[in-house]
């Protein structure tokens, strides 16, 4: 049985089904209980599992994320929600110096089956401290798997995989994909989702549209901007292949490089900051291996290196979108 589910319900359903299966799973975070998570990712869980397993926390990110490590070391499988990824700065040490490294530093004695889920993305005038993506920053530090679904089907399957993974997984959901009543989301993100649990392997990209002239590698909400651009370009006779990377660590290099080999052109579209992030990583991954097979210089459309501005006029100008993609693709061909 499948039905159309918005992403936030797909995520909470995945967590609920896993919690029923495994008593070791519990959730911590701010406003995840009665409120059901500010972005609905824990919708309905408190009613099902009670306050012991669905724990509302004080604003103490360092403490409850660090607590996830302690609980994991005792065989639990904690899920923590960091309300906005922008808040990671107050808890980063527990994430990158401890949770990410414990397995390695302990010579494999300790496993860290921790899921840290967090909201990303802008486009709704939430300004510089509530609109960032920052997954590139987490991809930089070793020991974390980086998962970023773009639709409700992937969201459920990847969440179940994340929970079952014995490693720490950072699970990023874009606010503008969740299908919330109060925040616009592309219709395409709300898709048919099977009722029963299923997994999607972490580390498999998905070709969401096949094409022959150019590869557009992208992730999260930018998948749709790329799709909309590709539809228009199709009318002009340009055939773009779109890859939804889905996970940044591990990165599905095979699919990426295979596609660029075929098309000879690479455009990376990323909502995270431009410098020292995902876009540079994808391009260098390709140029290091098949730099001499490219027909055009690889390009990237990412967030320029400015904080996220508040005003609609300004934010629209810097946010990567369909128009910018079309323009760049035409320049490349």
């Amino acid at each position: 049985m499948t039905r159309k589910l918005p992403m936030y319900k797909a995520i909470s359903e995945a967590i609920a089904q896993e919690m029923e299966r495994d008593e070791g799973i519990f959730v911590m975070g701010e406003d995840i209980g009665v409120y059901g998570g500010i972005f609905g990712a824990t919708n309905g869980l408190l009613e099902k599992f009670g306050p012991e397993r669905i724990r509302d926390t004080p604003i103490s990110e360092s403490a409850f994320i660090g607590a996830a490590l302690g609980a994991a070391s005792k065989g639990m499988r904690p899920i923590v929600e960091l309300m906005f990824v922008d808040f990671f700065g107050v808890a980063m040490d527990q994430i990158y110096n401890h949770i990410a490294k414990a397995h390695y530093m302990s010579g494999g004695q300790v496993k860290m089956p921790v899921v840290i889920m967090t909201a990303i993305g802008g486009g709704y005038s939430d300004a510089a401290q509530h609109s960032q993506c920052l997954y590139g920053l987490f991809a930089h530090v070793p020991g974390l798997k980086i998962v970023i679904p773009s639709n409700s089907y992937d969201a459920k399957g990847l969440m179940i995989s994340a929970i079952r993974d014995d490693n720490p997984v950072m699970y990023f959901f874009h606010k503008g994909l969740m299908g919330l009543g109060w925040m616009p989301s592309p219709d395409e993100a709300t898709v048919e989702v099977p009722e029963e649990p299923y997994t999607i392997p972490i580390g498999e990209a998905k070709v969401v549209k096949e094409g022959s002239d150019i590869t557009i590698a992208t992730i999260s909400r930018m998948v749709y901007e790329a799709l909309w651009a590709a539809e228009e370009l199709e009318k002009e006779g340009i055939s773009a292949e779109i890859i939804d990377l889905r996970t940044l660590v591990p990165l599905d290099k095979e699919t990426l490089i295979g596609s660029v080999k075929k098309t000879g052109r690479l455009l990376v579209v990323d909502e995270d900051y431009m410098s020292y992030g995902m876009s540079g990583e994808i391009i260098s991954t390709v140029v290091e291996r098949i730099g001499n097979e490219l027909k055009a210089l690889p390009r990237r459309i990412a967030y320029p290196d400015v904080p996220v501005p508040y005003s609609r006029a300004l934010e629209k100008y810097v946010l990567p979108d369909k128009e910018k993609i079309m323009e760049t693709v035409k320049e490349m061909i």
């Binding site: 701010e30 406003d31 209980g33 009665v34 409120y35 500010i38 509302d56 926390t57 004080p58 604003i59 103490s60 990110e61 360092s62 922008d86 808040f87 700065g89 107050v90 709704y124 005038s125 939430d126 300004a127 510089a128 401290q129 509530h130 109060w182 431009m274 410098s275 390009r299 990237r300 990412a302 320029p304 290196d305 400015v306 904080p307 501005p309 508040y310 005003s311 609609r312 006029a313 300004l314 100008y317 810097v318």
Partner: protein, 334 residues
């Protein structure tokens, strides 16, 4: 504090400023609902007495650091309302040229060092202002405003400890509005009052009714004078209540309508203050009405200014990241 001990001028300033905050916030709520103000706004309705009672004791050259619920602090510190309204609209004439928005409004000219989207983020900034004051031998004071939720966050602990060991002229004002978004106070911590935490830093901790502007005025006065005398920081907890949701659009499933109504009816800081002023014969109803009219006009002017202001030009998005011109590429555009 008995009203008799405060000058009429000062009492009227407090009343007018509370009204200004109230009218401003309710107007912002309307504009937000109309879609004229984007993003998230966190309004200060119900908490006016805290900002005003504290700010009545501050000078223009004193400093404050604020929170995501910062309009009340900004207004009472003397921030330019036209500039903040334009900022809320995202206009070029805004205090942040449209780059900051509600959570990042600042007016450095009046010592308002900024609202802050990060819970507890501004606490150490006030400590830094206090350090600057001390090392420059000034008699200014820095006040950090923050919520009950922030009192469980790292910066509360680190910031107050620093101010205490260095005896800095800083006053820490916890606006305990009893909810950390949806989490009630008694599920955040086990102690009755945040003020008890003063003991952990060897500094005075005082709890006060945040709906009573004169009570706030009194404890703030003592703390601020103490700070100016070089005797170090004080922690104040003002027990208050936000009459609206955490942000506009908050469904407020975590508290009952009755509870909200009770507070509005019995603990409205403006009504309570008004009653006292009238009872004591300090002002007439007409005088008060005139204040409301004046303030409403002023806010409408600010709205008009904001509406008529131009949008920032697109290219401005790349400006103001850095101040010192430098060689090399600072802001990438590929």
């Amino acid at each position: 504090m008995p009203v008799e001990e405060i000058s009429k001028e000062e009492l009227l300033w407090m009343y007018e400023t509370m009204v200004r905050i109230r009218v401003h916030e309710e107007r912002v709520a309307e504009l937000f609902a109309q879609g004229k103000i984007p993003g998230f706004v966190h309004l200060y309705v119900g908490e006016e007495a805290v900002a005003v009672g504290v700010m009545a004791n501050l000078r223009k050259d004193d400093y404050i650091t604020s929170t995501h619920r910062g309009h009340g602090h900004y207004i009472s510190k003397g921030g330019d309302i036209k500039a903040s309204m334009a900022e809320l609209f995202g206009k070029k004439t805004g205090s942040g040229k449209g780059k900051g928005g509600s959570m990042h409004i600042a007016d450095l000219d009046v010592g308002e060092l900024g609202a802050n989207g990060m819970v507890g983020g501004g606490i150490p900034h006030a400590v830094g202002a206090g350090l600057g004051i001390k090392l420059n031998g000034l008699d200014r004071v820095a006040v950090a405003f923050f919520g009950d939720g922030a009192s469980n966050q790292q910066n509360f602990h680190e910031g107050i400890n620093l101010a205490a060991i260095w005896k800095l002229p800083v006053v820490f004002v916890c606006e305990n509005n009893q909810y950390q978004i949806s989490l009630p106070y008694d599920k955040q911590q086990t102690i009755k009052s945040v003020a008890e935490r003063g003991k952990a830093y060897g500094i005075p901790g005082v709890s006060v009714d945040g709906q009573d502007v004169l009570a706030v005025y009194e404890v703030a006065k003592e703390a601020i004078e103490r700070a100016r005398r070089g005797e170090g920081p004080t922690l104040i907890e003002a027990k208050t209540y936000r009459f609206r949701g955490h942000f506009e659009g908050d469904p407020q499933v975590y508290r009952s309508k009755e509870e909200i109504e009770w507070w509005k009816k019995n603990k409205d800081p403006i009504k309570l203050f008004e009653q006292k002023l009238l009872e004591k014969g300090i002002v007439t109803k007409e005088e008060l009405n005139a204040i409301w009219d004046k303030v409403k006009k002023e806010i409408e002017e600010a709205v008009k200014f904001a509406e008529e202001s131009p949008w920032p030009s697109k290219e401005e998005v790349l400006e103001d990241v850095f101040s010192t011109p430098t060689k090399g590429v600072l802001v990438w555009q590929w």
